[in-house]
């Protein structure tokens, strides 16, 4: 039986694992060579985060599963990433709008997590917050470029925000595991107002009208995913699953 702390840490690991896997898809597909480099760099940072959380999960796990057991040998029903991370990369506007939402969130989240009573989590957060700051500068800059570039870039950006809008709520939903970890887990609901203010501020500056019709989809932390996660995991886990127990 996974403890609340293990569930909590695995959720954070899965968020980053799935997002990194998505960002990796941009390799050799970016709009410029510079973006190929930048996006793979961000993917690397986020993979690094996933590994830190999985490695901690491994320490916490009674079954002593390794980081690779967690990443490569759990099914889509066992993955508990929030849904926003698993959505397909879409076009460049979709990818950058998602990064913007998530980078704004990560800054607040890691800042709060760095005060966790759990020293390992606080330490991971302190490491993540530095790179997350760079990611945020980059994604905000891209939102400016796309909003003020051409009509087409603006149209694509607005469409991306619209597509993502209903997935933001899940970022601020407290899970049962989190509610049992007072002082250890971040209280997500506390971050919502600041996140919304930050999104509103940049949107207002760029005359971006945020969607007026709200909707929400949740379920990731319960293992209830979109249909996109299964194929991603099937591809990612193929080799590890074909050769159980093999060393690479």
């Amino acid at each position: 039986m996974d403890t609340p702390l293990l569930k909590y840490v695995l959720g954070l690991a899965d968020d980053n694992m799935v997002l990194s896997q998505r960002l990796t898809e941009w390799c050799s597909n970016g709009p410029t060579l510079e973006e190929d480099i930048a996006l793979t760099n961000v993917a690397l940072d986020i993979l690094g985060r996933a590994r830190m959380f999985y490695q901690y999960a491994s320490v916490l796990d009674e079954q002593k599963r390794s980081e690779d057991d967690f990443a490569m040998c759990r099914s889509e029903r066992e993955y508990t990433n929030l849904l926003i991370h698993e959505l397909p990369i879409g076009d460049f506007a979709f990818t950058m709008a998602r990064q913007w939402f998530l980078d704004e969130f990560s800054q607040l989240y890691f800042s709060a997590l760095s005060h966790s009573k759990d020293e390992t989590l606080a330490g991971i957060a302190a490491k993540c917050i530095k790179e997350s700051g760079y990611h945020l500068v980059r994604s905000r800059n891209w939102i400016c470029v796309l909003a003020e570039g051409t009509e087409e870039s603006r149209r694509r950006l607005l469409a991306a925000i619209d597509e993502l809008w209903g997935y933001r709520h899940e970022l601020f939903e407290t899970t049962q595991a989190e509610s049992l970890l007072s002082g250890v887990a971040v209280n997500r609901a506390d971050l919502k107002d600041t996140w919304m203010t930050n999104i509103n501020d940049l949107s207002a500056r760029l005359n971006i009208e945020l969607p007026d019709k709200d909707w929400f989809v949740t379920g990731g932390r319960r293992g209830e995913h979109s249909e996109h996660l299964g194929p991603m995991l099937a591809e990612m886990q193929y080799l590890a699953r074909c050769f159980p127990g093999a060393k690479w």
């Binding site: 990796t24 898809e25 051409t150």
Partner: protein, 318 residues
Amino acid sequence: MTKAECQIEQQLLEQFEAKIAADDKIEPKDWMPEAYRANLIRQMSQHAHSEVIGMQPEGNWLSRAPNLHRKMVLLAKVQDEAGHGLYLYSATETLGITRDEMVTAMHQQRAKYASIFNYPTLTWADIGAIGWLVDGAAIVNQISLQLTSYGPYSRAMIKICKEESFHQRQGYNILIKLCEGSEEQKAMAQDALNRWWWPSLMMFGPHDRESAHSQRSMGWKIKRKSNDDLRQKFVDQTVPQAEFLGLKIPDSDLAWNAQRGHYDFGDIDWREFERVINGNGPCNRERIRHHKRAQDEGAWVRQAMAAYDIKQAGQRVA
């Protein structure tokens, strides 16, 4: 050209040749013969395109790397290759050509990339083989190019060689693990060596006597060692590495020649080389199509960047 102009050009040529003879570097603002410039553009842009196109076969395994450590290392490696491409495009731009022009030349097949990337990466062992053999062959070539006569190219090679040696080790390390593993894993490693060995030898180009650009490039010290010398060096250093892995190099003529102090090896199938370089490899069309598609799909992003820059500049002036 007037007589006076001819005399000036003759003087410039003599100064240029004196610099080459003294092993001084030629720098972007220095006078250089047009053929030297054209030769460098051909070689350096081909090198840059190879780094960029090489991202495709290796990127093919990013989503399927067998564990998180390997995924991270491969991601960092492919990112390095993109960085090399960028660095080399920039170095080539010092010769008065734009990156766009170079990329268009590749799309129109006026410029080449390393033909070996027209082969597919079919198994995880291929990622090991690319690091070990393809990067290994590239390093042998690039070490000699650290002494090339064009300053920006030489400096690029010094920087790039440092990273490439890591790449080679990561590839070899992948194969060590496979060869320590199950029979199936070992068979995967042998299969990769079988498919990548000969194309790796072809990377050094035709025999010296048949190489179209070699003689002139050697005279100008763009190239510092001949194709055949570099190939021999690669074979000599790689055979013991294969032995350590317990893998068999697919060449029945391979044998140590004590008299020469080198390995003898079999004839390269140059028809295969010609076939692939001329567009008939398994992935030629796919590699260019992929690159063009990414470029086409990103066109609106580049247009947005350009429009945004103009608006920002306008605001600064206002």
